[in-house]
Structures are given as C-alpha cells and as structure tokens.
Subunit: 541 residues, 2 copies
C-alpha cells in the first residue's frame, strides 16, 4: 500500500551514492593542511593528495579509462598506489591490485582474465610484468611509476608513459561519483590455493561502509598515524586507505617491512596504528630492534590472515601493543569480525586473556549477520565451544561476486549467505573461533581435530618457531594429525619431546602421531601451503 | 554499456537495507551483558533491552501497527522512549516523537496531520494529551507508560492499555528490516516558528548513516557513558540512541535536567559524553553544584541549536568539558557540521580558541557537501569570513521531505541542495560560521549586520545573562540593531555602559542604537522568540 511517506522521492539533495571517493574530497577540505602521506623525505597534505588524485584521474580519462574499465596496478605499498585507490574509481574504472609476489604466468592470467585496459607498474616490478605481458596476445598499455633514484629512468628516455604524465594532466571534471553505489570499484584476485585465482569484485557502497564501520570498530582517537604494512593488494589494504581519509590520518610508508625499519618509522612519525599479518607481529616481537620500554600509550595493531598463536599475543602485550584480532576473507573486503575485548577479561591471567584474544570474535558494526551453521542440518551450531559449523556471512561488505564466474558466485552465495569455507565453533560468550579451513579439518577415529588448535599448542613450545599440522592417512583411525615443525636457532627438542609436550595438553585423538622437522613451504604472502604438506605426507607413506 | 561487472546482482547475502535496527541486534549479541540503560534503581543490559524491544514491537503488531503507520509518542527522555526508537521501526511503523512542552492545540494538530494510528504517552503528560484528543473528531487509541510510583495507576484499573501490555506480547518474528532502506523511520515536527509545524520525515538509510557518521566525527573511546539530556523528541536525540547501540554505550537518565541532578548522575555513573543545548551548558557552567576540580579526562559535550557564546565555551573549558560545537536542522537529522578542533588552535590564547570553537565548522563524514551559496549569483561565497550566503546541504542525512507538503518539500530541495534558511560566512580556513537565520539579518545602511555577532559580544559583558538583537525600523538607516538584555542578579550596567562596551568592540553600523532591559520571551524548548521581540520593537515606535 502506497502511503504519504512513500510519495517522498529521492533527489540530488537527499540521496548521494555511497562511495569512499567522498571521503577524499571532504579530507581535502576538513583536514586540508594535515599530512596525509609520508615517504622518505616526501610529505603531502590531504589537499595536495586530492589535487594529485584529480590530475591522475584526469590523465586516466585521457588514456581512455571510463565506466567499467579495469586498471591493473602492480606495485608495493607506495603513495602512488594509495592515490590510485581514489583516482581509478573517480573515472568509473575498476582498480585491480595484483599481488607483487606472484610469478609472471599468474600475473598474465589475471591481466587477461580481468579484461585489463591499462597496467600501472612500479619500476622494480617492470621485469616480471614484461615477462607476463610477453605471454599475452594483445597486452594492454603500460604506465610506469618511476622510482626516485631508480635506474629505470629508461622508460622516460624510451618515450614510455610514466606516472608523472598522468599527474601532468588537467584535473578530472564534473561529478565523478558513480551513478549507482552498486557499481564496481575494485577487483581483488584470490591467492588461488585451489585452482585459478578468482576475481573478487567490490562495489562503492561496500567500500564506503567498510571504511566507516572500521572506524566504529577500531575507534581510533583523533587523527591516527598509520604505518603502511598490510599490502594494499590484499583487500585494498583492509579498507584502511579509505578509512584514513575519513579521519584525516597520516599514512607512513616504511623503508621496508624489516622490523628495524618498522620500529624506526614508528619512532620517527609517532605511529599510533597499523595492520599486519601475524607473521609480521611475530617478527616484531622477536626483533632486537624493539624498544626496551613498552609503547605508552599502546600501539594499536590489527591483525588477520591466520589465528595469531596465543604466545605471540602475549609477547605483543608485553611490548605495549594492543592487538585487535580480526577475521575476514578477500570476499568480505577483509575483516568482518573482531575480537572485541570484554571488560571482564582484564582481571584474567595473561595466558587466559591471550586465549580469549585468539578468538575471531563478533561481527563488526557494518556486518548484518555472522553465523556458524551446520549446513547439513540447516541451523546454527550450539554455543558450546565444541560443535563445528561453517562460517556464513550476510553484509553489505560481501563482494558483488566473482568476475566472469557466475557458477562460483552462485555457489558462494547460496541461501542468503556468503559461505566462507571456514570451520568454526561458537563459545558460550558468543565469540566465534575458527577451527580450520573446512578442507584442513582432520578426521581421526570419527572425531574432528582442528589443525589450528594443535598448531596453537605447538607454538607455545619454546623451541618451535613455526608449526603446521595436516592429516596423515592412518590405517587404524582413517586420518591422524601429522606435525611439521621449524625449530628456533639452537633449539634441540626432538620428536619424542614434542609428542610428550602435546600429550600433556591435548586429548589423545588430537595428539600428532608424527613430527617432521623441515622448512615449511609458504605462499608469496607468507601463508603456509598445506596442500604442499599433504603432498609431502603422501610421499612419506 | 553493460559490463561483466554489472552482471553481478544484489542478493540477500551481499545487500542488506541500511537500518539502525541492525545495531540493536548486534549490540544484544556483542555487548550482551553490558548495561544499556540506567534510570533510578533500574539497570538493563543490551540483551535485556533487545528482548524488551522485540516484545514491544510484537505488541504493536498485535495493536495493528504495520508498514507506514504513524505511532505518536509524547514522553520525556525515559527508557521506554529509547526502546520505541527501535520497536516502532521494527514493525515498519513510523515513530513520531512530539515535543512535550507543546500546548494541547498543537499536539492535536500534529496527531491529526500525521495520520497517527496510536499514541503512547507518559503518565505526566496524560492530562495535556487528553485535552488534545478532545479536540479531534476521531482520536487514535492511547497506551500509557505508567510512571513507577505514579498516582495514575488508574489507567490500569480503568482497563486502559498500558506499556506493560505491549511488553507482555510475544516477540516480533521474522525479518523486521525494511524492504527498502528509503522507507520512513521517524517523523519529527518542526517547532513552527513561522506557521504550522511541518512534519520532517527521516528514512532508515539516513538514520543508519547519521549514527555511524557521528561515531566517526565524535570518536568516543570504548563504550561511552552517555547522559541523556538532549530530548529524544528533537531529531531523535540527534541520532545518539542509535549511535549508542553501535558502541554498546550506556544511556544514563538523570532525575531531571537541573544542574545538581546532572552533576550527580555524571559522578554516579562515570558519564563520559552528553549532548545538550547551549542553555544547559550555561546552567552547568554557572551552577554551584559544579565539582571544584575540572573533569579529568575531560567530559565530551556536543552542543547545537544556537551558536554558544564564546564566554560560555571558555567557562566550559575551565570546568574540564570539551565542547564539540555542531550545527544542523531538524531537516538534516540534527548535526551535519562540526567545529573540528585543529591542532594549531592549542597554542592560541583561550579567548581566540573560543572564537574558533564558536564556528559551525566543517561537514561531518557522512555529509557530501556543505556549501554557503549566494543564491542570486548561483555560486559559493568567497572564503573571506565576511560575505554572507545561504547554507546549503547535500547528504544522505537530508530528510525524505515534509509529510503531505509537496510544495514545501520542493521549495526546500531545489537545484540539488537542501536550503537551510541560515545565513553564514566561510572563513579563510574553510570553517563555516552561521551569522543568522536569513530572516534575522539586520540591514543597516545597506550593510548586513549579523544579530548573532552582536549577541556574542554582549555575552562577553560580565553583567549580561541573556541577550538578543533584532532589527528596529530606523528612519535614517532603514534598520538598526536593537538589543534586548537580561542582566545577572545584582548587576548594575545601564544602557550607556552597554552601548559604550559595544562601540569599543564593534563597527559603528553594528552597534545597537538602543538597549531594552526585560525578560526575553523563549519557546518551550528555550529558543529565543525573535518574532516576539520584533513585535515588541514595533510597539515601541
């Protein structure tokens, strides 16, 4: 039934498409002279960054980029990549950031599959890009971001297009918001551990809500000083570049991700916040470059990608780093759950606190529903901390879908949820905890064994640096847990010692039956490649 | 041109209508046992509040409320009104909160004009409501929120419907989000200083963004403890009830708005935040009940409704209260600009800081554009701090429109902006400052005189408690400023002294030609009624 309320229509005054582009324009106005980016000796204010972005966008338009055109960027975290997070969407184009650690073949696949119209590459990655382009029949044009002091000023000499050509263009004009907030904004390819990488499409609405929701969840005070560690080619840096524009924060680009460079940048610029994978936290925790006194006020770190071992969280706390553990997937723009600390935890002993903090927790404010569901039974699992189900998500920060893959899109978003493929339990306090990728669960004698749970215990052993547990075919139990271990330098623990340690803390069916000492294979992004370990296990038997 | 990106459709997994209802469900999950409301001896957690809200919504459905039905509430700030901010929208109904200080005739007009299907009233306001209903041909049914210990338990005895009947209903079932986020959520009638009150319609999308944008602008730490001062019948309490659900904050209901009750509640519950009109800040600043030491950490206050005199801001700072001055209108869900403090201000002398803080500032994060426009010329005014224009706004937090008033709706939202009717200047730093309601500007010898500017000076005079300046017809200059003044107790300043004080600080054409000592007429909400003063002025001549 139509009511008088329904008669009131959307107008240009009261309905604006949600887009993170809006945050940049506001930042240039509100935070105008405040520093937006710092790299080496270069500092630029928010109004300078906005002016540059408008020119880059103008240059992209001249280069032929418009609505729905993919622009590929192959670059580490540098200010230009930050600028392109605004400039490409301003043209209506779609920013496709590519993992810089990929091999040429996969880069070629992504450029081709994404229908890329233009590739922007940093000097250091030009060689691998050239190799990738040589594999394509009709490679797109290339623009190089020439590194200062780099030798590859050849590009300019050779008449190749460079980023500064874009900057020299007239600024983009007119209303550059998308006509529809559902329009695509970025394209992020998954790491493709199980087949070809899939192209995850984000939209303007989701990117806007991701940034604003992250502010409400992380609650930075004033203008955060943010250390750029998490690569912008992962879920667009978890939406943090857009978030900084809301708050007028400063993005500090360290010389590298080596602990000494990170600690130096923290001290030099007064860093207050950063996001990083657990492996980086571990490096920081173990570095000799760590300052002797804990940070005060504590440094705020967001971590995701794998459940950080409780031992690492404990060491971070001692360093004066508050770790907010979050969980998410490429398909969800990054984090959609956070381990929000509860007041009651403060009174617990550090080890227990760390256990709570290792949970993936509760939904972020912009997430509608975070459920753990027994798919066979079609209902949520009980909150018993034991029964596993699959993590399912409903949110405006769930991807539009997979690019040119309607079958995978439909499969991923069945029955009103996005299905994560992650197995989890829900604790009595409502906090969700990931047990495993569904395919990593070990089924021993009919019991589910979480490889993550066994790994967390192994990380508590003082001699172990890295641990990974996979299923090993077992004549009696079907499968049994098999532990791969990298020891710390000088450590002497042997298989018997480690198995004894496990038996002391774990139920019998969870205790590994064997321990293998060797280097553990990892992806270019530092994720452990369990499929490689499973292959190794099969070779053993 | 359709692209592969456009082929990816909205599904239940990746597109959820934006509604503040979602924040309550999340709060019940995430902040479950944390206190949500405190009133007298009663404390309720977020999960209790959610359970109550679901029952109240269930009761409303039983009472026949559904999509597009107006539910009128006439009540001061009490927990039930807080609950109704979620319960009514859950039914698809539209919450119409009515100013409790209005006279019966206007209440009757609002109930009638809004097509109200049900009135919910607190015991103390039952008499004025009965008078209002007696003026209507077919008054809607009434449900009473019976005050604890009130004498009006008659309602129950007389078989009348009471709020606890709603609570006794079965909780609402199914998906209670609106089908479309553009659906109406609340209806707020303007104070109607220039004619009949107009019904301002808010929608779910705007209410959601208002709440989330306010978090990003105010940046509360942790779970704020919020003192309920600003009436929820004003712009739904500036969206703060919905904002608290995001953060799991606590809403503290003081015994009254008397300074001693406010200070007592602040101390008892550890209040960290509140919103209040400048008149309340002034009462706090001047109260004997103020604690002797300044609040540490400072109390965070948001104020709006009139530019707070710099003198009041100075006194608040001394008390340990950080005042965030915001600006907005009923038509913009409350605040759309904020006087965001700049780092450079900290080094300035207190008086200069206070002048900066008296500006209305810059757009909030969820506001697309805040412009000051010369309507005749059709362009923004220069940033010179002198040239006046009209404040114009584009935002998702601009109302749907005026209920049943298409002409006024179209007039207010012409040319892609909502036109505020407020005259302002923009300072060189980009900060907007309201000079006046357009109709309050005094034109003296062809020069615009801002009554607000003259009033701000008068407030700096130690003998003046309240000041208001209006145009007085002037045979020579067309108009001249005329000052109305209330003196403090025991003060002795006379007209000559005040005029001398003005001449010392103001340009000649801005200096009032006359000072009138008398009680200044105010609306039920404490706003000075300039139209009454203008009438008085005409009687003088």
């Amino acid at each position: 039934m139509k009511t008088h309320f329904d008669a009131l229509a959307r107008t240009a005054a009261n309905h604006v498409p949600l887009s993170p582009i809006s945050f940049l324009d506001r930042a240039a106005d509100v935070h105008r002279d405040t520093t937006a980016v710092v790299t080496g000796q270069t500092r630029r204010s928010w109004s300078e960054v906005r002016d540059r972005v408008r020119c880059v966008a103008g240059g992209l338009v001249v280069a032929g980029i418009s609505d729905g055109d993919t622009v590929t960027v192959l670059a580490p975290n540098i200010p230009e990549l930050f600028e392109l997070h605004f400039a490409v969407p301003m043209t209506g184009g779609v920013l496709s950031t590519v993992n810089t650690r990929l091999e040429a073949e996969t880069i070629a696949y992504i450029i081709d599959h994404s229908d890329s119209r233009l590739v922007i590459v940093s000097s250091d990655l030009r060689p691998v890009l050239e190799k990738a382009l040589s594999l394509l029949d009709s490679p797109p044009p290339v623009i190089e971001i020439v590194a200062p002091n780099s030798k590859s000023a050849q590009s300019c000499e050779a008449g190749g297009k460079v980023y500064s050509d874009l900057l020299a263009a007239a600024p983009i004009e007119g209303n550059y918001l998308p006509a529809d907030e559902w329009q695509a904004i970025t394209l992020n390819y998954t790491s493709g551990t199980s087949g070809r990488p899939k192209g995850v499409v984000y939209h303007h609405r989701g990117a806007y809500l991701m940034a604003l929701g992250t502010v409400a969840a992380w609650q930075p005070a004033g203008r955060p000083v943010y250390l750029s560690v998490v690569p912008m080619f992962h879920c667009n840096g978890w939406g943090h570049p857009w978030m900084l524009a809301i708050l007028g924060g400063k993005m500090v680009f360290p010389a590298s991700n080596a602990p000494e460079h990170l600690f130096a940048a923290i001290a030099a610029e007064g860093v207050t916040h950063f996001g990083a994978a657990p492996v980086i936290l571990q490096m920081l925790a173990e570095s000799d470059a760590a300052p002797s006194a804990p940070f005060d006020p504590p440094l705020q770190a967001m971590t995701a990608g794998a459940p950080p071992p409780p031992a690492v969280l404990e060491r971070m706390a001692a360093l004066g780093m508050d770790v907010m553990h979050v969980y998410g997937l490429t398909e969800t723009y990054g984090h959609i759950s956070q381990c929000l600390p509860q007041d009651s935890w403060a009174a617990l002993p550090p080890a227990e606190q760390a256990e709570h903090r290792a949970c993936q927790g509760v939904a972020l404010p912009m997430v509608e529903e975070l459920a753990v569901i027994n798919r066979a039974a079609g209902r949520p699992t009980p909150r018993d901390g034991e029964t596993q189900g699959e993590v399912a998500i409903r949110a405006n920060t769930v991807m539009k879908g997979y690019y040119k893959d309607p079958a995978a899109t439909a499969e991923a978003m069945k029955d009103g949820y996005f299905w994560s493929g992650d197995a989890a339990v829900v604790h009595p306090n409502g906090y969700m905890q990931i047990r495993d990728r569904l395919k990593d669960v070990i089924i021993s004698g009919g019991e589910n064994v979480s490889s993550v749970e066994v790994e967390a215990l192994l990380y508590r052993h003082p001699d172990i640096r890295t641990a990974a547990v996979v299923a090993r075919p077992d004549p009696k139990w079907g499968e049994s847990p098999c532990a791969f271990v990298e020891l710390r330098e000088g450590a002497i623990a042997d298989e018997a010692a480690i198995l004894a340690f496990c038996r002391e803390h774990l139920a019998g069916f969870k205790t590994p039956k064997s321990v293998i000492f060797r280097e553990i294979p990892k992806t270019s992004t530092g994720k452990i490649q369990k499929f490689q370990l499973r292959k190794l296990v099969k070779e053993l038997d």
